[in-house]
Symmetry: D5
Amino acid sequence: MSLSKNLTQLGNKPTACASKTLEVFPNPNPERDYHIKIDSPEFTCLCPKTGQPDFADIKIDYIPDEFCVELKSLKLYYWSFRDEGHFHEQVTNMMASDLIAAMNPRYLKVTAIFNVRGGVYTTVEVEHRQSC
Amino acid sequence: MSLSKNLTQLGNKPTACASKTLEVFPNPNPERDYHIKIDSPEFTCLCPKTGQPDFADIKIDYIPDEFCVELKSLKLYYWSFRDEGHFHEQVTNMMASDLIAAMNPRYLKVTAIFNVRGGVYTTVEVEHRQSC
Amino acid sequence: MSLSKNLTQLGNKPTACASKTLEVFPNPNPERDYHIKIDSPEFTCLCPKTGQPDFADIKIDYIPDEFCVELKSLKLYYWSFRDEGHFHEQVTNMMASDLIAAMNPRYLKVTAIFNVRGGVYTTVEVEHRQSC
Amino acid sequence: MSLSKNLTQLGNKPTACASKTLEVFPNPNPERDYHIKIDSPEFTCLCPKTGQPDFADIKIDYIPDEFCVELKSLKLYYWSFRDEGHFHEQVTNMMASDLIAAMNPRYLKVTAIFNVRGGVYTTVEVEHRQSC
Amino acid sequence: MSLSKNLTQLGNKPTACASKTLEVFPNPNPERDYHIKIDSPEFTCLCPKTGQPDFADIKIDYIPDEFCVELKSLKLYYWSFRDEGHFHEQVTNMMASDLIAAMNPRYLKVTAIFNVRGGVYTTVEVEHRQSC
Amino acid sequence: MSLSKNLTQLGNKPTACASKTLEVFPNPNPERDYHIKIDSPEFTCLCPKTGQPDFADIKIDYIPDEFCVELKSLKLYYWSFRDEGHFHEQVTNMMASDLIAAMNPRYLKVTAIFNVRGGVYTTVEVEHRQSC
Amino acid sequence: MSLSKNLTQLGNKPTACASKTLEVFPNPNPERDYHIKIDSPEFTCLCPKTGQPDFADIKIDYIPDEFCVELKSLKLYYWSFRDEGHFHEQVTNMMASDLIAAMNPRYLKVTAIFNVRGGVYTTVEVEHRQSC
Amino acid sequence: MSLSKNLTQLGNKPTACASKTLEVFPNPNPERDYHIKIDSPEFTCLCPKTGQPDFADIKIDYIPDEFCVELKSLKLYYWSFRDEGHFHEQVTNMMASDLIAAMNPRYLKVTAIFNVRGGVYTTVEVEHRQSC
Amino acid sequence: MSLSKNLTQLGNKPTACASKTLEVFPNPNPERDYHIKIDSPEFTCLCPKTGQPDFADIKIDYIPDEFCVELKSLKLYYWSFRDEGHFHEQVTNMMASDLIAAMNPRYLKVTAIFNVRGGVYTTVEVEHRQSC
Amino acid sequence: MSLSKNLTQLGNKPTACASKTLEVFPNPNPERDYHIKIDSPEFTCLCPKTGQPDFADIKIDYIPDEFCVELKSLKLYYWSFRDEGHFHEQVTNMMASDLIAAMNPRYLKVTAIFNVRGGVYTTVEVEHRQSC
């Protein structure tokens, strides 16, 4: 039986940091239109009116042009909203704009499915097509 | 252990009132067509024939133009029907008309899914597109 | 084609009234222990702190002794809470006590599944057995 | 405790009768195209070959023109098939024709989902558009 | 292509008749306790108060002693309730008593899941064990 | 108690026989395009490579022209494959061709959903439109 | 591209044969009570009254003693019923008896869930415990 | 149309603060054993090894003795973990201990269902009964 | 009781080998456009960054031209990725290209649904149409 | 836009290795009986008879005594079976024995739900209680 050291690692540095930078890598198959769909059910930010936590499931669906978004940096990007106050409509559009700026995809849809508040379920859905 | 005072708050004033006024705020991203979907499974009014309670799940899906509907005022708006008698077809059209008057959205769909009555399930679905 | 008169019935009296009275009828088979389960997903009352509507699904499961609760009066009984302020724990116990007083059942369980509030789902479940 | 009289009502007249008459009322919003969907999972008739009961879930979806079908009369209309023998294809077309005759809707779809017989599930789906 | 004669069979006699008689056959394995579960989602009778159709899903679960109930006769037995008025509690107990009289099973449970009426779902569940 | 004779019927002749003949009857409503959908989850044939049983759920969806397929003969038709070896692609096309030959429908789709084999789920879907 | 020969294998011998023999192998861990559960949704036999195919999902759950049943032989065992007429109650007990004879398990449950016939779903469930 | 002021409220103070204090109120029905179940799918803390966010659904089920936990303070209590590092096993036990200290319930179960990490789903479930 | 020899077969050669070769056979019905859909939920390769296993459900949907892909060779093809490092986007495109090279189908869609990693679910979907 | 280096990391060493060593850490709350449930749907090994891949979902549920199993080492432990041949019954018992040897838990259940093979679904379920 080997006794794990993991309880002593509590003081360790995080292995990654929240970051607004979206890293990209070259699309391996730009000759073809294809979809990449990424579902992140662990998005949380703060309500700008009450300061209380909000939660959402963020889905993106895009057709890459020259670049694809790197998955780990996307995760850190979502994490960067954790301590920020954002309205539902504004933050969904902001994420769409950031992804467009980073990748210039041929097509992009961002869907943010927010958890129920006051008996009301809100979803914001932004679609974008590359201008020719 | 701290003993909550909440049982003594019973005589307090309500923190909000049912209201037919739909408040709006400026669309933060009018340059883009995007959908806002709001699902409210807690709508109740009265049957105009029997006076007995009716229940419905009200879903709206719209593309804002200059304005978005404010969520809390939408909740109070739905609440305002609680003691009113309404037919299924008429109340769904009335909610669509009120939302169009308040926001003039580019697109709107209102779907009212009423609870079963007499073994029959009724859904009314109104769609509207902004005239050019 | 016959043109219905139902739009003219709007001014009619309700066919039934909310009432705290639970009517009962004689158990047709008291010689046997059997369960009657009644699920009412349309319960609504008011939050005693904010005055805003609360919603719940009320399930009862009982073994009748001499009496069974009459279904229509149970529906009117639930309806009688529509304009009253009640806490979750208290109102579930109150319904259990009223059903026990009306029927003195051999067994009773009342389960109140309240709609989500503030990201929190609450269920209160009261069980009772007839004392010998 | 109030003892209900409901067991003595057994000899009472029915409060409504099965009827082939579909009552209609004026469409409250004829200026707009909107859908009314009515799902009735309690349709039963007889098999014309064996005389044994058949069961179906009847769904209608229509866009009203001048008239809407009244819900209670629709329920009595479905009930009127209870003791009649009908083939699946024929009865679905018959219900579509009767609804068209009663309402002349802009659009109508009738879907009859019959219960499994001999390991086989049958659905008949009739669509109609108002001729210009 | 062979043209079926089935449309001409409309005047034929039914191949079976509704009947209150429950036929039984000898349990092929009385040396062992085992369960037979039969689910019939097509039960319909009339409401004794309004005369309108009621619908239920009837489930039975039994351990046979000397006899098993024959499936086709059970189907005809359920059919025999089609034109009769019955209360929920009484008809479930009546079916249990009839099955006990026909088979004297070691164990029997009859569960009647009635369709929603007035926003209320009712289930009656009767259990019986053979007396030693 | 009436003792059923059904155990003595074991030597009886089958009431129907598997058959490749698809019987049809005249479409009762040829003036209208409508769909008939028939789902048969009990199809079985043999794997032509191993001789072992294969299983499939066969769904058909068609718009009849002059004729409809008779349900019982369809069931016997499916049964006729029970002892034959067939490849997935070939048998689905064969059933489509047989149905087209029997009915000459305005539209036909045959979907064969085969049970998993070797961790792989296969579905074959054939569509046909009547040539003008 | 390599062109498969599989269409020419149609005349080949089956790789296995239906068989009533249940092969067993030594329980690798007889020192411990543990469950083995095997679900076979592809059982088919014939109805002894009509000769038409019946279908069932057979589930077994057992605690092995000295022997476990070999999976492939179990599959061939189920296959051996394909052309035989069996009643629901009898065939389930027969499979239980055959498994007990082959393995003498500490515990065995056989559950046969038959496909719906005449609107009725039947399940037979046999339990057995090793005698001490 | 009334233009909402809500965009100007961004600089406002939060209406509530995360807090480790669990407020309680007197059990309205201590004469009876009953269950209160509270499901909070929005729990988030940090992984003590990587510093990255963890997410969980926290369910509690308790029988109150003299006190019940106040729902809003429970929500603020869960919120207080948002910026803290915790192991799965330890944080579930800690929440159980805090609830026991605050309410001394007759029975308590805390179930923490953590989101998948590295392909592995972890649930920790702590049960406690009041010592006599 | 026959004692199986299967425990002694452990040293046997595998009956098949992982292989990048996709075998095809002639489309039995090239005169018609039809779909073949194959779902393989057991794909696994390695993460090229960490060397750890990745898992996916691979679905293909194609309209064959002259050739169909042989199912067993497809299974061995998927198996050939088991010890190789691949990125999500690249491996999905590679499988699409290999299937196009082997069959030159009229239409092809490859959907790779990867298991969650770091709280993120990724799906890659490649579509191809035969050039005229 | 920052261009990710991740495509150049392909030659990197794995960050972790498959290993049969199960690391443990001290139970933070040994004074209390509580359950830890870990579900790993990504287990794969080889069939000892055919050499082909097998897949399973492995669930463990245990009450720790002095030690808990460390999650990452459990994942590497499952990974270590990837290239080994194992029978269903034997590998489930082996995992139970290894977990008992590493942790000596008060209670342990290991459930291995194997993917369908030859139309048959197999689950093996091993339970263990610490001897007093």
